[in-house]
Symmetry: C2
Amino acid sequence: MAEHTISFDHNGSVSVPTGTLLTEAAVQAGVFISQPCGGQGRCGRCAVKVLDGGVRRRSTLRLSEEDVAAGYALACQTVVEGDAQIIVPDQDTLERTLTSDRVVAQPAVPPGYDPQRDQSVRRYCLTLTPPTMDDQRDDWSRLQTAVSQQTDLPQLTISLSLLRQIGPVLRQGDWQVTVVVSIGENAARLINLLPGHVPEDIPLLGLAIDIGTTTVSVWLVELNSGEVIAQAAEYNRQIRCGEDVISRIIYAGKNNGQAELRRLVLESINTLVERVMKKAKGDRRSEVGDLESPNLQSPISQSQIVKATIVGNSIMMHLLLGIPAESIRLSPFVTAVNQLPPYTAQEIGLDIHPQAEVICLPGVASYVGADITAGVLSSGLDDAPEVSLFMDVGTNGEIVLGCRDWLVTCACSAGPAFEGGGVHDGMRATRGAIEAVWIDCRTYEPTLRVIGNSKPRGLCGSGLISLLAEMFLTGVVDKGGHLNQHLATERMRQGENGLEYVIAWADETWHGRDIAITNVDIDNLIRAKGAVYAGISVLAESVGVPLEMAEQVLIGGSFGKYINVENGIQIGLLPDMPWDNFKFLGNTAVLGAYYALLSQTAQQRIGEIAGRMTYIELSADNSFYEAFTSALFLPHTDLNRFPSVAAQIEDVKVTVADS
Amino acid sequence: MAEHTISFDHNGSVSVPTGTLLTEAAVQAGVFISQPCGGQGRCGRCAVKVLDGGVRRRSTLRLSEEDVAAGYALACQTVVEGDAQIIVPDQDTLERTLTSDRVVAQPAVPPGYDPQRDQSVRRYCLTLTPPTMDDQRDDWSRLQTAVSQQTDLPQLTISLSLLRQIGPVLRQGDWQVTVVVSIGENAARLINLLPGHVPEDIPLLGLAIDIGTTTVSVWLVELNSGEVIAQAAEYNRQIRCGEDVISRIIYAGKNNGQAELRRLVLESINTLVERVMKKAKGDRRSEVGDLESPNLQSPISQSQIVKATIVGNSIMMHLLLGIPAESIRLSPFVTAVNQLPPYTAQEIGLDIHPQAEVICLPGVASYVGADITAGVLSSGLDDAPEVSLFMDVGTNGEIVLGCRDWLVTCACSAGPAFEGGGVHDGMRATRGAIEAVWIDCRTYEPTLRVIGNSKPRGLCGSGLISLLAEMFLTGVVDKGGHLNQHLATERMRQGENGLEYVIAWADETWHGRDIAITNVDIDNLIRAKGAVYAGISVLAESVGVPLEMAEQVLIGGSFGKYINVENGIQIGLLPDMPWDNFKFLGNTAVLGAYYALLSQTAQQRIGEIAGRMTYIELSADNSFYEAFTSALFLPHTDLNRFPSVAAQIEDVKVTVADS
């Protein structure tokens, strides 16, 4: 058999015969390549870059097409067929390099975006005829005349606060004036009035705001170009009053609770607005240089933000607006309002131009809010020719099934397990959270990926899903979710809370305590995933569409961004479909808000989506309980629904038998 | 000649021949009848009541038809033709008795007023379908459905503050609710939301508000019946920052002046609102008794006031709204705004229901405001078949000439003389102000009528007009307005400020100082009356209509209420027309606001009036200066314009020669 020279970066080279695995060649060369899953191609941690390669990839699981095109290969699944030069990235570099792990931050401006057609907030420079003794019309009539003669705007309305400025501004600008208006169906509303003609390159700014129960995100957008100038996110400061929506509603019912929660979320948003402004100023200072702006104090100021769109679940929207949300919590679970009229920033409490147009996008029901309608828009589900499934999984799993012709939706209370709650060593996805786990099927030793590469402190949602999947595949738990007490490893032990599996020993952890998972934790996780899967099943049944008909699964939400599809399928959270059918869309809610910020059509489409969606109340649906019970197994009572998982179970059995 | 018995009340009787004047009969009977004007029938102070009378009235000047029907006669102008019984009222009783002096307080509800057709603010009791698990529509949609099914209202809008109440209110009322709405063209706006069905007899209240430079008036009105429940007026508290509009504008331009003036006028209005509420509660307590009102704290509360209409001159409107009025003062004299959209009470700052509909009625120009457009409506000028003249004389004289086919208007700066300013012993029309003067043409001794029957402190506007007229007719001043230094009375003397005529000696006055009038004072008065008359002339010339064509003169404004027509004509302030052509309408501004408060049609008509009026800027009109100069005589350079005054001058000459 032919011998080939495999050189590893600057670590020397070895000669191996055709068919040798790259991992074996590395061992011979004394080069360490991580194999957390035990060489099954499941974890993707052994990815290496092949330069001038004579290799054959047996599997490219965990790699995107782009990764492969860039030369990446999974060392445990790649055999030598010629000379090859191999680069082994360290774990850090790897994560930053692989596109499959990369977060898409800057969205593309919608194709063909034309502010003169799409944008509802526009700026116009006007020249007025100065008044004389023969023409003593009042200032406001004079401005209206100029608007009607020099623009194609409908009739203009003006607020009292701007009426207070009109006289001085018109005279300061010597009858030249710049107006910023918001265009509605039958009338345009004056947002701002500036003396003189503001140069075109002074940006007109807007905000896309997503109020999550956990995280608030703000994008600063230049309205004419559509460019996202800066993004920022931080925890929703309401967290101190309760982690989930139900505890927030209860808090709101207490003395001043409503006002306090409103104050806190506004504080979060306004802090983020300051942050994006700072970022934008930092960016701009170098870009724009000494831009002349005779009419503005500085090239960018918060008063230039003249529009905002806001999304969030229905509870977040109620709390933002100071509207009691008590009825959302109690049967029959109704909101005070789903469709809100436009407000001004002043009414809402945003620290931007007080007259800025603020559009709170519409929700559908108590537990299907504007974050979902906006997500459906940005995911393209409402315009999809094929049946698609949209999921936004957090504390509540909101699910939408449909296509351009119909849309059904439901919300299933997944509980806090996926956000690290209800699990002893659970935590939110911050520094120190274990976000991925691989268990060696022979030794039962886990390998961990920890956020921020620090010592582990606990497990976040994606870590828990990953852990549960690995435990199930390697037999650490059985299909009923029970830990295998006979497992041949000291990691399986009786702890304070009964049987537990130790993921990290005290000397490896941040806090010096063991990190372990118990049967109770596992039960909570299974109930959570069972609720989501049952929701999906009931939706499909409600419209008589077999789940397999769904040609794509669109996963939104910041949590969804980190779910590993394979793990999700393995535990029966996600339906068993080819991985290519899954699309991870990141924060679809804020993206929908961004589209609505730019385009009136998008905004209207979200309204139509809210109107079109049929909401199915699961707690009133008899079939839900049955579906839920069936889903309380790993991956499911009916293994026929998860053929790929059935196959993997067999694979693992073979690997173990082989060793 | 036949003798007749004339009995005077309980003071005995005399026998006199046919043709004897009642005043002569009284002298014979030893009964005192006041004759301040010296028996010329000018003053009306000698009015007596004739019971079973055989008398003939030679003149009924100073008496209304109603007075004559009630038996009143002027003793100096009435001759005996048979037996008669005479009652001599004392001066106090007389003033309270004669309708010609009575102030009309309670206006008639507009004929055919139908709140279901005319009123824009209405109340409806609704019954909603409670939500269930099968019907989870949001509260707001549920309310909208009830409104569209149970009323004929257009689409409803709701404020954020009411959205905050909707959930609790609907549940508190067990899905029965009372809504108060303001109906616009394409939409209705929710003003109030009350749990349960509010009984029909709970009043729905509104306010008609007139903001005068000097006096603020508020009427509390029951919107369904149109009844004026209570009225109150007080000085505009802005007076401390300047007596006239110009000094207020200047004050507004100083530090915080704008805010201070706004605060002060709001303080005036809100104090008056409290006062009318107190009055109404006092009235109601006895009327309504133990009215059951399960849903309201008390039968009447300020939050039941759900609508207000406001009129005032343009400066008052700007200051109320906090809009800079600087441009009104400076050439070319333009307002910031004449036509205002509806506001809420909260926006304006009124202490009534925060969502109450507040309609600021429209003005025409800097010096022709909503008080005039409303006055034109309530005077009926805009619908008059004959050419009519409307005047509202205060610091500024606003004049409207027209009929149902056309309207022209102007404002002439009369200066403060008619409000007691610019005259040494001038004062506002409060207690102690001399409001009428009669001078004996033989002795030059004056008789005074003082407000509140107290000792005199000074002269108010009507007193000054009365004084000037009497001085002119009796020769105390000549037609040039110069005091006659050769007059045979010690009242004519050289004072500190030159020649002066003493009206009251120090021992008769409140402050122990002489009250006198100087040539400078007279000059100011003549300039004021000249400006008004010149305005009238220019208006008439501008449309080519001879002033005599005006078939009626409608006099509005609280000052106008007290002008004596005869005196006004005598000094050349008012055109020389038959007295019957003059109609004193009192506060036409607040009456117009009252009509607009009740009727959408009236409100629209005021808008049409504002649109229809052609404003003539006198300071840009060349003919004005000429007309003004000609009017700087008593009564005018051209005595042909004042034939009745020419005749009176002759009468006085005859009377003096006779004596």
